[in-house]
């Protein structure tokens, strides 16, 4: 695979300029602008709009925390660890890539050789006090096991609450009810993944 497309760092390629008036330079020009803005009555226009909307009871303010805005699937809040849909096993294979790529150095894990000759993750922690929510862990995960959730409220009284595996792992009953939604945010497989995949002739 060529890296050309990643190496092109000319970010201005598809941008269009929006013409903006030059700001005044001469003192007299500046003075004129101030007078114009002061006496044009824009302030009253604004006040009128507020008053009008108030009497109509057409209020757009979200009553947080009773009400929350829907957020994009690409939003990067507190992580989740997913399970395999059928078996309920953890998706995480303990490869350690998230731990390696984490630039805040906040992920740690313990793994071991389990009774089924597999690599088992015995401990997994993310120190949310250090996490910068860059999303690299979700992006690097080969199993789509660690993803970014939508829970952005993570204030706590104790640092110890930041954060244990049990808090972010999909609970089993939750999984059985089908509430673990497949993730299509940051780091998810691309919509055209099937076309991009290269087949390996494995004659198993």
């Amino acid at each position: 695979m060529s890296l050309e497309q990643f190496k092109d760092r000319n970010v201005m390629q598809n941008y269009t300029y929006i013409p903006v008036d030059n700001p005044p330079v001469e003192p007299i020009e500046k003075f004129k602008q101030v007078v114009k803005r002061t006496f044009k009555g824009e302030l009253f226009v604004g006040l009128w709009v507020v008053f009008r909307e108030m009497v109509r009871f057409n209020i757009h303010t979200v009553k947080y925390p009773m009400e929350k805005l829907p957020i994009s699937p690409r939003y990067r809040a507190v992580h989740k660890l997913y399970r395999l849909l059928e078996s309920g096993n953890e998706r995480c294979i303990g490869c350690g890539l998230c731990e390696k790529i984490c630039i805040a150095n906040c992920i740690r894990m313990d793994t071991r050789y389990d009774e089924n000759q597999r690599k088992e993750v015995t401990e997994y922690t993310i120190n949310l006090g250090r996490c910068i929510f860059c999303g690299y862990c979700a992006e690097v995960c080969p199993e789509l096991a660690i993803v970014h959730g939508q829970r952005y409220e993570n204030a706590s009284e104790q640092r110890a609450h930041f954060v244990l595996r049990d808090d972010i792992l999909t609970p089993l009953d939750f999984l059985k009810e089908g509430k673990q939604e497949e993730f299509d945010g940051f780091g998810a497989v691309s919509p055209n993944a099937d076309e991009r995949i290269k087949k390996t002739p494995l004659a198993y």
């Binding site: 294979i93 793994t111 390996t200 198993y204």
Partner: protein
């Protein structure tokens, strides 16, 4: 010297060197998959092919000798596609489990697959069930194996176990234990080290960490006097532990150095101490003020030995360390005959020798590094290996060409007979010439049971040898007549041009022997440092004041190779160290390693700072670690004492000998090696002589130290000598370590093993 051109660059090579060796030494890269510097070319991967001007086809650079004027190309479009095809074949059905594989990140197959741009797979083969095998320390995953044969070759050519082989069967080929169903070897783990993929793995380390997250701490092994190079690999102790560090495994630079199983699997002998225990420290200072003796073992660094010596100079303590004392006596007697302060032998001389005599040591367990060098000599230049010992060692049969059995206790007579056989006609000093010609051969032969024919066979097999080495073991060093034996062995070096290597019994016996002015007996009040005493400083956590273990300290060891090798701190230690005690007592230094440059130059040490001691490996220089002690001139005394009357040992004899992988309390404390049950192994004959049956529990008393052992019959042993381990005795192991290794003891049956 010959000159050849590789990729347009003129390089010099020695005669007999291969193209690959010449290229590597010049820093030029030729990809390889199966090449291992320390064994003969394996030539199974075909990746090292090069083009040579004027030669048809590709040439294997690992085998082809470099010739004068040769023009070599290491890279071209054809070579690249050839190598790419090889990598494609290697990748056929290789399980895509890099995510969990231990080798991932340090895998030759991954690296070369990327290097040759194998992005897709065109070949395939019908696969079958492949086994996962697990032995005690070593596991083998057949499906990951690429059959490079490195493990087989290193096991045969360097280690000498010859325990694994290739099962040839086309696509079904695999590695399997040789001649046995299960793997039976000395568990050195070198096959794990050399495996380029994750096929040979450490069962303990498997799936516990990844190669890239482990921090390598270059150090020297603290278990035996070879002080092999190793890296402690550490990372945090657990996902939820704050700040704790733990060693996960030990690796070695396997291209140039070899490591035994004790070094590789016995690494967690640390003494974890979090805070400074001021009360205990105060008591220790009091004890030092009261004491007249410091007793210590040789498992300390040179710097600590120097601190103890300085304390002696200031306060007049007696320094008691029996095994180093004996070794020092041996070396001093040796010097009076050889004319040099140190012996001439070294490990590299051993590996280069074409004739080797091993005298008075069960070398396989006493010092694996020496054994590996003997194996290398045997396999590389077909060296004659003569093994002289009262007990035959089955595991050494692969390399030993002649086994000479002598009676217990007759080492002095045997060395004298050997001197006569090998040095006859070469001695030009009248006194010694007379001594050799006046030897009462009849008496010595009869008592030692070494016949004239055997000596003649030794002489004959060594006549053609140009580089002969003599390995002298602990049986001689701790012999009651060690001084005389030392002077006799020095004859070999002085007159026979034979390099003599006395195997130091413990990690730093040589360093302590050179640095400390030792005394032989204790006074009234003894401070023990890792040794018994009235006040005990211990790195085992059971003393009156805690001390750091050797993987928690920085400093240097003096190896039996006469090399000063550095070791570094792999694990933190929060308590007091010997330097703190010494500083409180007025022998002041900020760090223990401040003493490195003060090591006595008159003994051959160099004035060099700890941080300036080199420790690296390179293709050009191989292993560059530490520096070698200087051999200085010593006055010669050519008078020789008559051989004393040879002692007789009859009946059941115990031989102090730890099993493979055990070197003392340190190895027994580790999680992987500590499971070993201390067992008294004897032959059927011994069982009859001592009136024992297989599996009984016995109580022994060896020179006043009581111990309980399970007795087992080992069918491979012969004679009435049993192997009695001491690794489980903790601090009191030190009391026995300087006695003559053979002893007779009342053996009392106390029950059955499973009771």
């Amino acid at each position: 010297m010959i000159t050849l051109t590789i990729d347009g660059q003129k390089i010099e090579a020695q005669k007999g060197e291969t193209i690959l060796q010449a290229a590597r030494r010049a820093g030029l890269y030729i990809p390889t998959m199966c090449y291992l510097t320390k064994v003969k070319p394996i030539a199974s991967c075909r990746l090292c092919v090069v083009e040579v001007e004027g030669a048809d086809g590709f040439i294997l650079s690992c085998q082809a000798p470099a010739l004068d004027g040769m023009e070599v190309r290491t890279n071209s479009a054809e070579l690249f596609s050839h190598r790419q095809n090889i990598m494609k074949l290697y990748d056929v059905n290789h399980p895509l489990e890099c995510g969990v594989c231990d080798k991932s990140g340090a895998c030759d197959l991954q690296n070369k697959t990327l290097e040759f741009g194998v992005a897709e797979q065109e070949f395939s083969a019908r696969d079958h069930k492949r086994d996962l095998r697990k032995w005690e320390f070593i596991g083998y995953d057949e499906s990951l194996c690429i059959l490079c044969e490195k493990c087989v070759h290193v096991c045969n050519e360097v280690i000498g176990d010859d325990a694994i082989e290739i099962f040839y069967g086309g696509y079904n080929s695999r590695i399997q234990p040789k001649g046995t169903e299960e793997l039976e070897c000395t568990n050195c783990g070198e096959c794990i080290a050399v495996c380029p993929v994750g096929a040979m793995i450490s069962t303990d380390f498997q799936y516990r960490a990844n190669a890239w997250e482990l921090e390598k701490i270059p150090a020297s092994c603290a278990h035996c006097s070879a002080g092999c190079a190793l890296s402690y690999e550490r990372k945090y102790a657990g996902a939820c532990e704050a700040g704790e560090q733990k060693i996960y495994r030990v690796t070695n630079e396997f291209e140039f150095a070899t490591l035994c199983g004790a070094g590789r699997f016995g690494y967690d002998f640390e003494n974890r101490v979090d805070g400074k225990d001021e009360a205990a420290f105060g008591k220790a200072i009091e004890a030092f003020r009261k004491a007249d003796t410091i007793r210590f073992t040789s498992r300390i660094t040179n710097e600590e030995a120097l601190i103890l010596q300085r304390l002696k100079e200031k306060y007049g303590y007696r320094l008691v360390n029996q095994d180093a004392y004996n070794y020092r006596q041996f070396l001093e007697s040796y010097a009076t005959m050889s004319g040099k302060t140190l012996f001439g032998g070294s490990l590299s001389a051993l590996a280069d020798a074409d004739g080797i005599i091993v005298m008075g040591s069960r070398i396989l367990t006493d010092n694996p590094a020496v054994r590996y060098h003997i194996t290398m000599a045997s396999k590389r230049q077909n060296a004659r290996i003569i093994y002289m010992h009262p007990m035959e060692d089955k595991a050494m049969q692969n390399v030993v060409t002649q086994f000479v059995k002598y009676e217990v206790g007759t080492e002095e007579g045997v060395v004298a007979l050997l001197a006569k056989a090998l040095l006859d006609g070469k001695v030009d000093v009248k006194k010694i010439e007379n001594f050799l010609s006046d030897l009462d051969e009849g008496y010595l032969s009869a008592e030692s049971n070494v016949g004239e024919e055997e000596l003649e066979a030794i002489r004959k097999s060594l006549t053609r040898c140009k580089r002969i080495a003599l390995v002298v073991g602990e049986d001689c060093i701790n012999h009651p007549r060690a001084a005389q034996i030392a002077r006799l062995t020095a004859l070999f070096e002085r007159f026979g041009g034979i390099s003599v290597l006395p195997v130091a019994p413990k990690t730093n016996s040589l360093g302590v022997a050179l640095i400390c002015d030792l005394d032989s007996t204790c006074g009234d009040y003894t401070v023990g440092y890792n040794a018994p005493g009235d006040f005990v400083l211990s790195s085992f956590g059971d003393g009156d004041l805690d001390m750091p273990a050797l993987n928690q300290q920085e400093g240097t060891f003096t190896t039996l190779d006469k090399r000063i090798v550095p070791t570094n701190v792999a694990l933190p230690y929060g308590g007091y160290v010997l330097n703190d005690l010494a500083s409180e007592l007025g022998v002041k230094a900020v760090y223990t390693i401040d003493y490195t440059e003060q090591l006595p130059e008159e003994k051959g040490f160099e004035k060099i700072r700890f941080d300036d001691i080199p420790y690296y490996f390179s293709n050009r220089d191989g292993e560059v670690r530490g520096y070698t002690l200087k051999r200085l001139k010593h006055p010669v005394d050519s008078s020789v004492e008559e051989v004393a009357e040879l002692p007789e040992f009859n009946g059941a004899i115990l031989y102090r000998c730890d099993p493979v992988l055990q070197f003392g309390p340190q190895t027994y404390r580790t999680s992987q090696l500590g499971k070993e049950e201390p067992t008294l192994y004897g032959s059927q004959q011994f069982a009859i002589a001592a009136k024992l049956t297989d599996g009984v529990r016995v109580r022994l008393s060896v020179n006043g130290t009581e111990m309980e052992r399970v007795f087992k019959i080992d069918p491979e042993l012969k004679g009435t000598i049993a192997l009695n381990p001491t690794f489980d005795l903790g601090l009191s192991e030190d009391l026995l370590s300087s006695d003559y290794r053979y002893s007779q003891s009342k053996i009392e049956v106390v029950g059955q093993a499973n009771e």
